[in-house]
């Protein structure tokens, strides 16, 4: 693959914004190359349950868009790929090095998942945010696009069991990283975001206390493709009935280098609280906030609606989380309305 490829547009990132921009440009006749570093298109949004404030199904918005992107003749898609060295040429175009990482599975894969049954290695499933396990050879997730398996070579034991069982003969351990130079006229950067690493706030005990989960882990438990068929707390698989949301965990906090508001955690927590009211009708949900930033169209109504549904909102930042022997968590905070220090017990905490 030494021939020089030329495109009108390079879109970096195959999430919802990358797909949308690629699709819009392709429909106008531009040749688009879409580069996604992950194994599948869809980005973060394909993993979400509902969107706020309309509570539309998130995957139902993303999957048709992703399929359309994948099928469009003007779009070339490279998953599990990255770009290196974007350089501006004298002509005004950009010279880009496209790096395709090896999946060790060719495109002949039918997604039958027989290899997954045979693979002996079990590791955490990053697409379920470590709530459950997956095999070292795996189809990323059920609605992945392309629906092709990949081998996680770092964890693979190279036993060759998948190679024996594969009906399409698509396992290829000889794949290597490929670098291709391409020339593009313009670049769209749609690389999305990284989630905050909650272990940077040790006093919240994420990683140490199993019943402290991230909002993404909670989100996964609320989607149709969820790992358990219910909302369960990780430590003992009990159905939680008193859930706490800790807002501003990692944002508006100079000590972790994020002094500004994420502008999203108020609203997705409100959304999850409403969904939990449906998923666990008997559960109490409490949201600990600093200021509710319901700034968009329909957001404030959405917040009021959550209050009306019985979600409790308490003003005060959680200072410290400690674990009890039964796995419940004690949250220490100052109740700003009364000015008194309080300690509340919850059986599941979402950061």
């Amino acid at each position: 693959m030494t021939e020089k490829k030329e495109y009108d547009v390079l879109v970096l990132g195959g999430g919802i914004s990358g797909s949308e921009s690629a699709l819009n440009l392709a429909k106008q006749g531009f040749k688009v190359i879409l580069v996604e570093k992950d194994l599948s298109l869809g980005g973060k949004m394909i993993h979400l349950s509902k969107v706020f404030p309309t509570l539309d199904c998130s995957a139902c918005i993303t999957t048709p868009k992703v399929s359309e992107t994948a099928r469009h003749p003007n779009i070339d898609i490279y998953t599990f790929s990255e770009v290196r060295d974007i350089e501006k040429l004298n002509s005004g175009d950009f010279q880009v090095t496209l790096v395709q990482k090896p999946r060790y599975v060719t495109e002949d894969c039918t997604g039958c998942q027989l290899c997954e049954d045979k693979c002996p290695v079990v590791v955490n499933d990053q697409y379920q945010w470590d709530l459950v396990g997956r095999k070292a050879i795996y189809v990323p997730f059920s609605i992945a696009n392309p629906r092709i398996a990949a081998i996680d070579i770092e964890n693979c034991s190279l036993c060759g069991a998948c190679e024996k069982v594969c009906p399409a003969n698509s396992i290829d351990f000889s794949q290597v990283e490929m670098q291709t130079p391409i020339v593009v006229k313009t670049v769209i950067i749609a690389i999305g975001f990284n989630l905050f690493d909650p272990t940077l706030i040790p006093r919240y005990g994420f990683g140490k206390y199993k019943n402290v989960v991230t909002s993404m882990q909670m989100e996964r438990q609320l989607v149709p493709t969820r790992p358990f068929n219910n909302v369960l707390r990780p430590k003992d698989g009990k159905m939680p009935d008193n859930i706490a949301y800790v807002l501003c965990a990692g944002s508006r906090d100079e000590t972790v280098g994020n002094p500004i508001c994420s502008q999203v955690c108020c609203m997705y927590s409100t959304k999850q609280a409403q969904l939990l009211m449906g998923a666990l009708p008997m559960a109490d949900v409490t949201v600990y906030y600093l200021h509710i930033r319901a700034f968009g169209k329909g957001f404030c109504e959405f917040y009021q609606q959550a209050k009306g549904m019985g979600v409790e909102f308490i003003k005060g930042k959680i200072g410290l989380i400690t674990e009890k022997e039964n796995g419940n968590l004690l949250l220490r905070y100052e109740d700003i309305e009364s000015g008194n220090i309080k300690e509340a017990e919850h059986d599941l905490v979402v950061l």
Partner: protein, 381 residues
């Protein structure tokens, strides 16, 4: 009605406060504090008062004295407003407000006053010795010691001692009374049963003697039990040494400042050595802490913190040298060092005891005592 002082932030900065106006009232500081309780939630309350400039509310409050500055609030404050340092500067501010003479405020806010007063007092001591000292004899006592009581007879020093003691006691006690008026006297709508003053009195003694609250400071809340706190141990050692030394020189000078050379196990020497070791370890430890700045509480040092440490250091080191020179029969160095010793000691006591940092030795236990009375009175109501 509450009166606000819009210039309060500017005033408090002179006492060492940083930019506490950045606070967005999340209450994180209160929640991570190991001493904050349901009855006394701090430090956010104090930050709010300071931001609003509610001076009377601050002066009415005992909470700045309940904080022993572990620095957890400052380390975890999302806005980096440094609540711990604010509490520290409020203690300096309150010290100057309890002092009705106004000298405390001058010493805290003006370096000219601070160093000027020290120099003035040191010179007074020097002049007194220049004009009134006894013969600087080179003769030695029978066991080879210096005849210090010929140069500076303890009976005469004792007169100065008692005068100074009376001065210190008068100002410190009147300041404590002023503190009482500000804290308990202002509780207009709270009826305080008289017997509480007696039933809570033992807490004053306990907290003075043990600084029990300090030992609970900086314990990790998730452990739920106090861990041994080096800061508290060193501080207690320093404080007990200081008290022993103070009592010996003010009340028992005739016994302490002797020309006899006792055996090493004599109580006079044992107590003296205990105090010397305690003071030296304490001073070195706090010096190192303030220079290293690794602990949150040692990151910011006000000029008065250094003054206190330096004066205490000079007093201790010169005291040790007087002892060494006297025992080894070196008359002239003993006399000069003795004068220098008093030139450091007198300003240290005169300035620090009633007007400055030293006074926390009295204010802290009294604040806890007053606080217990108020809490008990509220509960009985």
């Amino acid at each position: 009605m509450a009166t606000i002082n819009p210039g309060f932030a500017t005033e408090l900065k002179k006492y060492g406060a940083l930019d506490f106006n950045k606070c967005y009232n999340c209450g994180n500081c209160t929640a991570v504090c190991s001493l904050s309780t349901g009855d006394n939630s701090f430090p956010r309350e104090m930050i709010r008062f300071s931001v609003l400039g509610l001076e009377r509310e601050i002066q009415k409050s005992t909470t700045p004295w309940l904080c022993y500055y572990c620095g957890e609030c400052s380390a975890t404050c999302p806005q980096q407003t440094d609540p711990g340092e604010l509490m520290m500067s409020l203690r300096r501010y309150l010290t100057s407000k309890y002092d009705w003479t106004g000298l405390g405020a001058k010493l805290y806010t003006s370096k000219l006053w601070e160093f000027g007063t020290i120099a003035f007092l040191a010179l007074v001591v020097l002049f007194l010795f220049v004009f009134f000292h006894g013969p600087m004899t080179n003769e030695l006592t029978a066991d080879g010691g210096v005849m210090l009581n010929t140069f500076a007879p303890w009976q005469q020093i004792e007169i100065g001692d008692l005068l100074m003691g009376g001065f210190l006691a008068f100002f410190l006690m009147s300041n404590i009374f002023n503190m009482y008026l500000k804290i308990i006297g202002s509780q207009k709508d709270l009826k305080i049963p008289f017997k509480l003053y007696f039933s809570e009195f033992w807490k004053l003694i306990v907290h003075f003697g043990t600084q029990r609250e300090f030992s609970k400071c900086d314990t990790k809340l998730e452990q739920k039990k106090p861990a041994l706190n080096t800061y508290w141990v060193v501080h207690w050692f320093l404080m007990s040494s200081y008290v022993i030394m103070f009592v010996m020189i003010v009340a028992f000078l005739g016994w302490f400042q002797t020309d006899n050379i006792y055996a090493w196990f004599h109580p006079q020497r044992i107590l003296g050595y205990y105090a010397t070791v305690g003071l030296t370890i304490g001073i070195v430890y706090f010096f190192v802490q303030r220079i290293k700045k690794s602990a949150q509480k040692s990151k910011h040092s006000h000029v008065t913190d250094w003054t206190f440490l330096v004066l205490l250091f000079l007093t201790t080191i010169s005291g040790i040298l007087v002892h060494v020179f006297r025992l080894n029969g070196m008359p002239q160095p003993t006399y000069y060092m003795y004068v220098f010793h008093l030139m450091a000691l007198v300003p240290m006591l005169m300035i620090e005891v009633p007007f400055s940092k030293w006074s926390h030795l009295a204010y802290r236990p009294f604040a806890i005592y007053f606080n217990k009375i108020i809490v008990a009175a509220k509960k009985s109501k």
